[in-house]
């Protein structure tokens, strides 16, 4: 029998998404191989925002490195500051006074709230719910105002100092934080009213971007993305730093390993952050805000890896000291960078619209991916 040649044939369509695309959250580029709207394969391309932060760090003194940590995850600068100063303090064996620790925790948890608000706003906007974006921005603005009140800067805060804080909290700051955390639960409820049980939102997020616990661990996921897969791993509990062992909070975990679980978890984390902030306000001790540290910082020869739970996951700082005023080697384990690895696994076989949902659920910041 003669073989009949089909008159039409199908071709794979290659789409270049980004680096200038409205919803790739910065300069992320992904090359999609499409069959209709189904994704057969994808290639993420990163590096458009590379500034050589780690190399820069080797040419700056220890206090000078801190401002550049602001510019990695610019949505959660204080968390980065906390990780960095923690690493240097551990290297030098500095004990931070309790008042400083409490204020650090307070600012850090405010950061987590701000970062999660940005995530929720942009994620919902990508999926098409426009209003949530403005609501989240409104609340985030309040956090940024608090930062501004505390240290004068809003985004690149450069908040903490090695050994403690630069300045004590200003007068009336506690009351403002209290007002904010009193207000926020009702606002979170508003978001939930719009989204949590919305059919379309459920349809878009349920069973999208599934990653099993085993896969998640193998890929090195951390933060809410890991907890969404049901792994109870939070460095604030697992390896308490900065006095987190003194605070009472729970780690929410998911069951279905999908985008919706990660959404629920992040909302719950905001509520837990509110609880922690309340505890810091209630138990704020008096005393010094800075430990006695030398004028010129010269950590002893040695290396240190210090990790903290940033809003986006496990943030690690590796510093190798040769005894001089500058780190010999400065390396960052950025949570977004590692989390982004799971992108291809999550997206294969799904539709174009899901790319956006998965980009949203991973919650990465290109400043920290590319460094």
């Amino acid at each position: 029998m003669k073989k009949i040649e089909p008159l039409v044939d199908t071709q794979e369509m290659v789409i270049n998404m980004g680096p200038q695309h409205p919803s790739t959250h910065g300069v992320f580029r992904v090359i999609l191989y499409l069959d209709g709207e189904t994704i057969m394969d994808c290639k993420p391309v990163i590096g458009y925002l590379h500034r050589g932060v780690e190399k820069l760090g080797e040419n700056l003194t220890y206090p000078q490195v801190q401002p550049i940590t602001d510019r990695m995850d610019y949505l959660a600068s204080p968390a980065y500051n906390l990780g960095y100063v923690g690493a240097v303090e551990k290297l030098m064996g500095i004990e931070v006074p309790p008042r400083a620790e409490y204020i650090r925790v307070m600012i850090n948890e405010l950061t987590r709230i701000a970062s999660h608000l940005v995530w929720l706003g942009t994620h919902a906007l990508d999926v098409g719910a426009m209003t949530i974006f403005f609501y989240c921005w409104r609340e985030r603005e309040m956090v940024l105002d608090l930062f501004e009140r505390y240290c004068g800067a809003r985004l690149t805060t450069n908040t903490f100092r090695i050994g403690g804080l630069q300045q004590d909290i200003p007068e009336g700051f506690i009351e403002e934080v209290q007002d904010f955390i009193n207000l926020l639960p009702s606002r979170i409820k508003d978001y939930e009213t719009i989204l949590t049980s919305n059919r379309i939102w459920l349809n878009r997020l349920k069973n999208v971007g599934i990653i099993s616990a085993e896969e998640a661990i193998n890929l090195g996921l951390s933060g809410p993305n890991l907890r969404g897969s049901g792994v109870k791993w939070d460095l604030r509990k697992a390896e308490p730093y900065c006095g987190y062992e003194k605070f009472d909070f729970i780690i929410p975990t998911g069951e279905n390993c999908d985008s919706y679980d990660r959404y629920v978890i992040r909302l719950e984390e905001m509520r837990q952050s509110i609880r922690i902030i309340q505890q810091t306000i209630d138990g704020l001790p008096g005393g010094d805000i800075r430990a006695k540290i030398p004028k010129v910082l010269k950590p002893p020869v040695g290396e240190i890896y210090h990790r903290v739970e940033a809003p986006k996951g496990e943030l690690g700082f590796y510093i190798y000291s040769d005894g001089s005023t500058k780190p010999y080697r400065f390396r960052v384990r950025a949570p977004s960078f590692v989390n982004l690895q799971s992108f291809a696994t999550m997206i294969k076989g799904h539709l174009v619209a899901d790319v956006i949902a998965v980009i949203g659920t991973l919650d990465f910041v290109l400043g920290e991916v590319d460094r």
Binding site: V127, A129, F134, Y135, I200, A353
Partner: protein, 345 residues
């Protein structure tokens, strides 16, 4: 002379009035959308051009007119230019059969006019036929741009509009059965005779029509063809200047058209609420076209409200909703309507 007046001059004036008022209304829909969205989202919206931003549509129009009209080097020039026109004309043509009001005597004169351009006896068929032409504009625009995002948007638009047209057409049939006429004027008159707005006996059809309405006009939650977060801007990604504006305006014109159809078929057209209740007859002082306008504004508000509330469907979910739920439901509605009509007789 009489014939010339009745068959030529008055319709001509009506056409000018309807298109003029329609365009004016549409321009202010854009302002309304932005202001209402601003209100919902706790921000201001445009309020700088004129009092409360009332001159904003004019400023926007002038801006878009003066913009450079870029067309991509690889685009099919002819089709690229033709597409926005193709998508803009059908809604204007459709305005012809919409009855905006009943006979109205111009105050201070004795001239009585019908507030519609034409009362076609196949009005509904005309509506369905012309409105399905609109999809050509989108698909040709997407194809002629020679861009992948545009193409994807155009494909989505075609699939979506074709499938929801079926649901929309089927949902109308129930109304046609009750009114036993295809003329839009007669359908409103039938609602007057039966003293009930048809959305009460035809509540399922009304619901299906409402959902399909959003899909037909490519509005959230069904704005996949232009999903700006996925496809940049869908089929009009490559368009700019006045050509872009035509697509944009066509969307608003379409909103006005489908709202008008919904009002005519289900919400008593130009009639006041509760047309059968006697003691409300003082409401008849308000001219019929004002009732229509009021209902129309409510519908436009509904469009904006939904836009600010819902996320967007995914392509496959949209198709599933259309084919697996709305169309069977519409068919069942026709069946039930028929049965009930036989039983009543």
């Amino acid at each position: 002379m009489e014939e010339l007046l009745n068959y030529f001059i008055i319709p001509l004036i009506m056409i000018f009035v309807v298109v003029g008022v329609g365009a004016f209304f549409m321009a202010y829909c854009t302002l309304m959308e932005r202001r209402v969205l601003g209100f919902v989202q706790s921000r201001l919206g445009p309020n700088r051009v004129g009092p409360q931003g009332l001159l904003q549509p004019i400023a926007d129009g002038v801006k878009l007119m003066l913009k450079e009209d870029v067309s991509p080097a690889v685009a099919d020039k002819w089709v690229f230019t033709l597409a926005p026109i193709l998508s803009f004309i059908p809604p204007i043509v459709l305005l012809a059969v919409i009855p905006f009001g009943t006979q109205w005597t111009i105050p201070g004169t004795s001239i009585t006019v019908n507030l519609y351009v034409a009362d076609l006896n196949i009005g509904i068929l005309y509506l369905l036929a012309i409105s399905s032409l609109g999809v050509y504009g989108l698909i040709l625009g997407g194809w002629a741009s020679n861009s992948k995002y545009s193409l994807l948007g155009a494909l989505r638009a075609a699939a979506q509009m074709v499938s929801y047209e079926v649901a929309m057409g089927l949902s109308i049939i129930g109304v046609l059965m009750i009114a036993s006429s295809l003329s839009l004027v007669d359908i409103v008159n039938a609602q007057k005779e039966m003293q009930i707005w048809f959305f009460i006996p035809q509540c399922i059809a009304f619901f299906i029509f409402l959902v399909s309405m959003f899909a037909e006009t490519n509005r959230l939650p069904f704005d996949l063809p232009e999903a700006e977060n996925e496809l940049v801007a869908g089929y009009f990604t490559e368009y700019s200047g006045m050509r872009f504006a035509l697509f944009y305006l066509a969307e608003y014109f379409n909103m006005i058209i489908v709202s008008s159809v919904a009002i005519t078929l289900f919400l008593g057209g130009w009639m006041r609420p509760f047309p059968g209740v006697e003691f409300l007859s003082f409401l008849d002082i308000i001219p019929s076209w004002l009732w229509f306008m009021g209902k129309l504004i409510c519908f436009i508000y509904l469009f904006i409200w939904v836009r600010s509330t819902f996320p967007r469907y995914r392509y496959d979910q949209l198709m599933r909703l259309g084919w697996k739920w709305l169309i069977p439901l519409a068919l069942a509605n026709i069946l039930v309507t028929g049965l009930v009509m036989i039983l009543i007789q």
